[in-house]
Amino acid sequence: MNAVPNANPGEPKEIKNIVSDQQLLCARFSPCGQFLVAGSHEGSVRRWRVAGEKPAAAPNAAPAEAPDALADLLSDDKKKAAKPAKAKQQDAKAAGEASAVEFAPLAPLTGFNGWVQALAFHPSDKLLFAADSWGKLNCTAYDGESPKPRWENPAAHDGWIRRIAVSPDGKLLATCGRDGFVRVWNSADGKPVAKHEHGSDIFAVVFAPDGTQIVFGDGLGKIAALDFSAGKIAREFDAAALHKLDRLQDIDGLRALAFVKDGKTLVAAGLLPKNGGTVQGTPMLLYFNFASGKLEQQFTHGDVKDGYIEDIAVHPGGYVIGVSSGVPGNGMVMFHRPDEKTAFYFSTKIANCASVALHPDGRRFAVAATNKGSNGNGRRLSADGEYLGNNSPLHLFEIPA
């Protein structure tokens, strides 16, 4: 990956607030940067077109071209240069504000049940892999008006699929979930490639950079690297800090896994649990040396009311963006560079964050949060006497150079 100007960013600025009428779980930008998707509580995937953007290199283009396209995007002057027809429409709006973008909602992808919490994009093809909490996994070309799935497996897992990972070359998928299995699939047709029965609810899964191993973590403090072709556990990581048995409840602290430092370090994000019931604990990142399995750093930020780091994004500049849910209190957006003792940026201005989507340009990210005043015992009815649900506004931030 080329060095990107934002290695030492200034404070991010909120530039847009996208209202949504539902609660959203997992938000992601497409690799081309033109689409933002988010899984919802109501069996659907919401989509927005990030208009005002020059499209990235065509699918299957040589990767070397991509950085140039990115550089093009960043340069204001080049914005007015040759653009695809769609983007030209938005010129008038885009004019005048260098960072103004429109998020035009597209028809949601439907056909799911329960929650759609697991989303992942193919690195180069315009494909979106999505899974729901009833166990369905499918693959859709995400840029059409009302796209139909290319392939679909309604019972890929028995129940809640929590995460999808895509191999670096895009050929394989990995999924994990409440049925205690990790499974590897062929991304082109959804055919099963491998599976491993771990035995307890699995919260995160990610491919190792070389594509031969998947790393997964459960709710009981165990993280392991699996050589899935051989079907053998290659290494275990001691993440006991991410679990606590409080009375009857096994508090599952793990929420996400990713690689940093050019694939040398595995980061596990979640919570250092304090108590169950209304789960409270401190946001935590555990950094492991992937080769040796050793814990390099146990980083916590904030206090026990700051809650889970629900989702992370690894910035090309080498730092981790984490968002947390806050219990009670507000959500938090946090930037942390591995090995540093403190987060070099954090803010608790928005309410209860569920997910963070990093734009491929590295200059923008979206946080799926919650409306203010989302909790409360007893009734809260609208003026018409209707029982109101909550929703997840998407906060779009810009990271200055």
């Binding site: 609660q23 509580h41 109501e42 069996g43 049940n113 329960g114 929650w115 919490q117 909490s133 009833w134 129940g159 809640w160 409440r178 609810d201 709710g219 409080d246 009375r247 009857l248 409840q249 096994d250 508090i251 599952d252 169950g276 019931g277 209304t278 789960v279 409270q280 809650g307 889970y308 629900e310 849910s325 806050g326 219990v327 009670p328 959500g331 309410a351 209860n352 569920a354 949060a369 919650t370 409306n371 989302s374 909790n375 409360g376 015992n377 007893g378 009734r379 809260r380 029982y387 109101l388 649900g389 909550n390």
Partner: protein
């Protein structure tokens, strides 16, 4: 008398009832504090028992008894069919689903209190009309109304995490005698186990000596003290003899596995033993259900553990024939909001929630009432906890609208004056 004074703003008083205008209002008197000796006798003959499972904090009805999958507030989980066609539970309760043909699930509870500190006591007291005295919890009420069984074991045993001992608070105006004997962490109260220095023979012999001395002493004196003393020493003896009931280290591994090697699993197994040994009322507490944050993972961890233990005990009570005369109840102080808050949690919701019952006097395989499609409110008639108390008393053969307590001359109804038993729940 241990009675806090009523707060003026809470006070709702029914003069008519106090003056004993209702037809069945019976004479005040010393019938053991019951306004009828006949009623007392009738109740004592049948060895009915109660298992009361209290899930403290508020179990989510949407993640248990009344799932609404694939709706706005339904959450991620699926619903699964139960042993009664057309009735579904959350996928988190597969074992209890198989017991539904024995259960009676009320899905139409609608109560008033959404706070823990007041709500827990209100629910367990049946929230009667305020009379300026604290009403007894259900266990103390049964201890008073039905007394211990012929087993001589204490009438009201409470199995709970944390501290044990003799808990008088539950008894309200009935007085500490009707409080519970609590087994903290399933362990017996202090001094329950025979002292290591004593052999059984020595213990029995010295106890016989004591009885003989008491008898001689009381020959020419009032009998009540020596009788009371004999009673408690006998109860102590019974409890001491039955260490096998609560000593989980001595229980077969298979049983411990069936109930689950969790806090609630072990406690439920002790509860079963207590019931089999003849304890009249056994309460089992589980704490930590108040999932304002991370409700779904929380319940995914909690509910299956409860499910395993609960299904096991229902099965065992049915197999031993005890279920016929044992009223089983599992509930919390309220349900949880359909609305999902920003920390992925659910808040308190007394407006529409559920409880489950089984056994003595209740209809098996029945669902009482329903919530609407989204699970936000009760569809037709909502039941307050007063109606539920009426239902329980009647299930146990106690006429809840006639029997009264006698609180030092003040007749008090045993359940809310204006409510009635839930007919559809009773056999």
């Amino acid at each position: 008398m241990n009675s806090p004074l009523c707060k003026p703003w809470e006070h709702a008083f029914s003069r008519r009832q106090f003056l004993g205008a209702s037809a069945g209002a019976l004479a005040l008197g010393a019938f053991g504090g019951l306004a009828s000796s006949r009623a007392a006798e009738a109740m004592r003959k049948k060895e009915k028992q109660v298992l009361f499972v209290w899930l403290d904090g508020g179990i989510s009805q949407l993640e248990s008894w009344d799932p609404k999958p694939n709706t706005q507030f339904g959450g991620p989980f699926r619903a699964i069919p139960t042993s009664v066609p057309g009735v579904h539970f959350s996928e988190l309760m597969p074992k209890s689903a198989k017991q539904m043909h024995r259960l009676c699930v009320v899905r139409s509870l609608c109560t008033k209190d959404n706070a823990h500190s007041s709500g827990v006591a209100r629910i367990q007291r049946g929230d009667p009309k305020t009379r300026g005295v604290p009403y007894p919890f259900f266990g103390s009420a049964i201890s008073k109304l039905m007394g211990p069984t012929a087993s001589k074991l204490p009438a009201y045993v409470w199995i709970k995490p944390g501290s044990g001992g003799f808990k008088a608070e539950d008894a309200g105006f009935l007085g500490p005698k009707y409080g519970s004997v609590a087994f903290g962490d399933g362990k017996p109260p202090d001094d329950l186990l025979r002292h290591a220095s004593l052999t059984t023979e020595a213990d029995e012999e010295r106890n016989e000596l004591r009885e003989m001395l008491n008898k001689r002493y009381a020959e020419q004196r009032r009998r009540n003290y020596t009788e009371a003393s004999s009673y408690v020493f006998d109860t102590a003896q019974e409890l001491m003899k039955r260490a096998d009931i609560f000593d989980t280290t001595k229980m077969p591994a298979k049983e411990l596995d069936r109930y689950g090697r969790t806090e609630i699993g072990q406690h439920m197994l002790v509860a079963r033993n207590m019931l089999e040994a003849g304890v009249r009322f056994v309460k089992v507490n589980s704490y930590g259900w108040d999932t304002h944050g991370d409700n779904f993972n929380g319940h995914a961890s909690l509910v299956p553990k409860f499910d395993r233990a609960f299904a096991a005990i229902v099965e065992d009570l049915a197999a031993s024939g005890l279920l016929e005369n044992t009223l089983v109840v599992a509930m919390s102080e309220f349900g949880r909001t359909p609305r999902i808050n920003g920390h992925v949690g659910r808040d308190h919701w007394p407006e529409a929630w559920s409880l489950a019952m089984a056994g003595c006097g209740v209809k098996a395989g029945a669902v009482v009432g329903a919530t609407n499609e989204k699970g936000t409110f009760v569809k037709d008639e909502g039941y307050d906890i007063g109606s539920v108390f009426h239902t329980w008393f009647n299930a146990l053969g106690i006429d809840s609208q006639r029997v009264e307590y006698d609180n030092h001359g003040q007749p008090l109804p045993i359940a809310h004056d204006d409510m009635k038993p839930i007919k559809e729940a009773l056999v």
